[in-house]
Symmetry: C2
Subunit: 142 residues, 2 copies
């Protein structure tokens, strides 16, 4: 787990700092989609001195080395998660805010076709849906 972090940092000539390990562990332990504030809050529980600026810097660094991805889930701020083994996409409910992750192989296939047709080098694929989840659809206005 922290192996992966250390080797990726070393490979990019980046230093293995306490703060980077901490942010990494926070992301590993919470399998949710945390925003920067939430990462900062969790991190402070173990290192009260870690600054929000460092959290932002670290998230950017981890994104650059390919360990973390950033999602825009319809809010004004970003959410982060560790790059998953198998890629997946996101749905969020406009009413309750719940997030549903899903995969759909057709998407990558469509992307591959486009990439070939237009000679594009694709680095990231974000598919984001929103609407109403099952529960929120079927409940009357109170």
């Amino acid at each position: 787990m922290t192996e992966r972090l250390v080797s990726m940092l070393r490979a990019s000539d980046l230093r293995v700092t306490r703060q980077r390990q901490l942010v990494w562990e926070v992301l590993q332990q919470s399998h949710e989609h945390l925003d920067a504030e939430a990462v900062h809050t969790c991190a402070k529980a173990r290192d009260p001195n870690i600054s929000l600026a460092t959290v932002y810097r670290t998230l950017a660094t981890l994104k650059e080395v390919g360990l973390v991805e950033e999602h825009r889930l319809g809010e004004e701020h970003a959410h982060f998660e560790i790059v998953p083994q198998t890629p997946h996409y996101h749905f969020t409910c406009q009413a309750c805010g719940c997030i549903i992750e899903f995969d759909a192989p057709q998407v990558m296939q469509a992307v591959r076709e486009l990439s070939k047709r237009e000679d594009l080098l694709i680095q990231h694929v974000h598919l984001f849906l929103n609407g109403l989840c099952s529960q929120c659809q079927h409940q009357q206005e109170g």
Copy 2:
């Protein structure tokens, strides 16, 4: 063209103001993906008094009535375009910033399957790719 705007506004009991028409026309005339600043700049050419706040408010209103959609194209700010006749998705080049629009029916099909399987009501579908366009891939570092 402005018919559509007027009828949608009327249908929602919203007033047809000069500013709303202006923002609408700006979006119609530029078939690009403008951000709020750009809309404001274009609008000011015809009404120097229109304020940025009104542009933001108007974009939000047009989005609510379903005339405009908002895209996150990897930058910190949002871009806007008139809801297109046929839905399409976006690729942006990390190097030159160019935007390529494309469609891929497989995507909506995958979305429909998910929607059925999970009983979701899908309101918006955003597929966003980034990477390097053909030109930027094949040019050496200068």
